[in-house]
C-alpha cells in the first residue's frame, strides 16, 4: 500500500507504482543467462564430444587432449597439450571459459543485466531494490574497475577463434567448407564485434583524449574512436548474439560428435561422425 508520507510511493523489494510489465526484461535476461551457464557447466564438465572433424567447440579453445590426436587431427592445441595430471574436477574448458567469462562479468553492459536480473540492484527503473547497505562499486565490487585487464585477455583470445575457424577450411588434405566452419567464422566475427565495442576499449583508443585535433596521433585516434563508438552503440546486441552463437557452435559440434546430426560440408556432402577420421 502507498505510504502517504512519501508522496504515494511504495518501499521494498520489487515495490513500484509502475503498471507496465517491467519485470519481463530482467526475467528474460535471468532466464537466458541461467540456461546458458547451466549448459556451459554441463559442456565443460563433460570433457568429451567437443570436436568433430575439423571443428572444435569454442568452449574448448586451444584445448586438445593427447589421447584424441590422430594423423588427421587438425591440431587445436596452439600452446601444447594440457598435462595429463590436470585435476579432473577442474576441466580445462572451465579455465579457458573463465578468461572471457571475467571479461563478460565486468562488462559495463552485463553489469546492468545482472545487477538488475540477479541482484535486484535495482530490479527495474523506479522499482524497489533489495534492501541493504548499498555501497555500489566502492567496496567489494571495486574490482569492476579492472575491466580493461580482462579486455586485454579477451583481445588476446580473438586470434585463436579465427585460427580455429580457419582450421575448419581444411580437412582430409583438401580445402573445403562445412556448416561448422560457417558457424565458427560467425562466432569469431560476433565475438570481435563484442570485444572491440567494449567501453574500456573505446576509452583507451581515444575517448580518454580531450583534444581530438591537436596532432596527427589524436586525429588518427579520433577516427578509431569513432569506429569503436559504432560498435559500442551496438554493444548489447553483440553481447547477446555472440553469447548465443558460442552455445550454438558448441551444440552443433557436440551433436555432430555424438552422432546425433551429420555435418553438411563440401568434402563429402553429408558426413556423419563415423565418416570423420
Amino acid at each position: 500500500m502507498a505510504n502517504a508520507s512519501t508522496g504515494g510511493h511504495v518501499q521494498g523489494l520489487g515495490a513500484t507504482m509502475r503498471k507496465d510489465a517491467w519485470w519481463q526484461g530482467p526475467a528474460l535476461t535471468a532466464g537466458i543467462l541461467s540456461l546458458w551457464l547451466v549448459y556451459y557447466a554441463f559442456a565443460a564438465a563433460q570433457g568429451k564430444y567437443y570436436s568433430a572433424g575439423p571443428y572444435i567447440s569454442p568452449f574448448y579453445i586451444a584445448y586438445e587432449h593427447p589421447a584424441s590426436v590422430t594423423d588427421m587431427s587438425p591440431g587445436y592445441a596452439w600452446f601444447g597439450f594440457w598435462p595429463d595430471s590436470w585435476p579432473a574436477f577442474f576441466p580445462p574448458a572451465l579455465v579457458m571459459g573463465a578468461l572471457p567469462g571475467m571479461f563478460r562479468m565486468t562488462c559495463y553492459y552485463y553489469r546492468k543485466a545482472y545487477y538488475r536480473s540477479f541482484f535486484g540492484m535495482p530490479p527495474g527503473c523506479a522499482v524497489g531494490p533489495v534492501p541493504h547497505d548499498y555501497r555500489g562499486e566502492t567496496f567489494l565490487l571495486v574490482f569492476q574497475n579492472l575491466h580493461r585487464y580482462t579486455l586485454y585477455i579477451a583481445i588476446a583470445l580473438l586470434p585463436l577463434l579465427y585460427l580455429d575457424a580457419i582450421k575448419g577450411l581444411w580437412y582430409d588434405g583438401r580445402p573445403g567448407i562445412g556448416l561448422g566452419t560457417v558457424l565458427l567464422g560467425a562466432n569469431a566475427v560476433l565475438l570481435t564485434g563484442y570485444t572491440l565495442g567494449c567501453h574500456a576499449w573505446r576509452h583507451l583508443v581515444g575517448g580518454k583524449l580531450n583534444c581530438f585535433s591537436c596532432d596527427g596521433a589524436s586525429e588518427a585516434r579520433h577516427g578509431l574512436w569513432g569506429r569503436v563508438t559504432w560498435l559500442n552503440e551496438r554493444h548489447q546486441q553483440f553481447a547477446w548474439s555472440s553469447l548465443i552463437m558460442i552455445a550454438i557452435c558448441d551444440i552443433y559440434i557436440r551433436s555432430v560428435s555424438m552422432g546425433v546430426i551429420p555435418d553438411i560440408n563440401t568434402w563429402s556432402g553429408v558426413t556423419w561422425i563415423g565418416d570423420f577420421h
Binding site: A4, A126, T138, N145, H199
Partner: protein, 270 residues
C-alpha cells in the same frame, strides 16, 4: 444530430505535503492530442477540489524541465507524455518525484541538485590567446550532447542510489573518509562536459572519486532510459568518467605512465 459525447479521463493525483497526504481522483473531459500536463490543468480548472493542486510547469514544450513527475510510476515530463500513449480507460496516476522532499502535491524541493552543481568548478579556460580560442568541431561534438540537458532531474529521481538508498552526497565530505554519497547522473555528465573540453584547465577527477562518489554508480542505465532529451548519459558520460577515474586510481599501468609523463597538466580542484 446530437453532439458526440466528450471523452473523459480519470486523473489520480497525490495531494498532500511533507506531513502526509493521499491520492484523489478527478474525472474530467479531455480532447484529442492532450498531454498529462493538460489533464492536470483541466482538472485544476474543472474538477471540484482540484483548483489548488500544486504543479510546477513553465514552457510546456519539453525544454524547461519543470513539470517532472511520476506518471503511472515512471519518471516523466508531464508536458511530453501524451494521453494517447495510454489505454482509453486507463487511469492516469501522477505523483511527485520520489527522490526529493515534497513541498506540496506534485512539487518537490530539488535544491539539493543546485547545491551539487555549486561544488563543481566551472569551465576554466586558459588566459585568452592573441585573437581568439580555437578548436575544431570534432573536439566539441561529444560535449554538445551533454549541453542538451534541461535539468529536469528525472535522471536524479530514477537513480536508485539517490532514490532508494538515499545516498545523496552531503554538503561537506568528512576528511579521510570514503565518499559519503553520490552527486547523481546529472552531475556526472556535467563533470564529463567540463572534463572533456579541450580548453578546460581544471582537474576534477580526484573530487569525482573521493567526494562526489562516482563509484556508487553501478551502471543500471535507468538515468539514460528516462532522459527526455535522449542523452546517452551512461555510455557517453558516466562510463567515460569512470574510466578516467580508473586511469588515475586503479590501473597501475596508466598510473605509472602518467607519473612518467609528469601527471595531469590541469590544476586539481581543491
Amino acid at each position: 444530430m446530437s453532439e458526440p459525447a466528450k471523452r473523459k479521463r480519470t486523473l489520480r493525483a497525490w495531494r498532500g505535503d511533507a506531513s502526509g497526504g493521499k491520492f484523489e481522483e478527478y474525472t474530467v473531459e479531455v480532447d484529442q492530442g492532450m498531454v498529462v500536463l493538460d489533464l492536470v490543468h483541466r482538472a485544476q480548472r474543472d474538477a471540484e477540489g482540484a483548483g489548488d493542486m500544486a504543479c510546477r510547469w513553465n514552457c510546456k514544450a519539453g525544454k524547461c524541465g519543470s513539470c517532472s513527475m511520476e506518471i503511472n510510476g515512471k519518471p516523466k515530463l508531464a508536458c511530453m507524455t501524451r494521453l494517447g500513449d495510454y489505454a482509453p480507460d486507463e487511469v492516469i496516476q501522477v505523483q511527485p518525484l520520489k527522490t526529493f522532499p515534497i513541498i506540496r502535491d506534485l512539487t518537490t524541493d530539488v535544491s539539493w541538485n543546485y547545491e551539487q552543481n555549486k561544488k563543481i568548478a566551472p569551465f576554466t579556460p586558459p588566459p585568452r590567446p592573441e585573437g581568439d580560442y580555437r578548436m575544431k568541431q570534432k573536439d566539441v561534438d561529444r560535449i554538445q550532447e551533454f549541453r542538451k540537458c534541461i535539468e529536469c532531474f528525472l535522471c536524479q529521481d530514477t537513480c536508485h542510489v539517490l532514490r532508494d538508498h538515499d545516498k545523496k552526497a552531503p554538503a561537506t565530505q568528512p576528511a579521510g573518509k570514503p565518499p559519503q554519497g553520490f552527486i547523481g547522473p546529472r552531475f556526472m555528465i556535467r563533470v564529463a562536459q567540463l572534463d572533456m573540453h579541450p580548453l578546460d584547465t581544471v582537474d576534477r577527477i580526484p573530487k569525482l572519486k573521493e567526494e562526489w562518489g562516482s563509484g556508487y554508480c553501478n551502471i543500471t542505465k535507468c538515468c539514460t532510459e528516462v532522459c527526455p532529451e535522449h542523452i546517452n548519459i551512461t555510455d557517453n558520460g558516466i562510463i567515460p568518467m569512470k574510466e578516467r577515474v580508473v586511469d588515475r586510481f586503479y590501473d597501475p599501468i596508466t598510473m605509472l605512465l602518467s607519473k612518467l609523463g609528469g601527471g595531469s597538466k590541469r590544476t586539481v580542484q581543491k
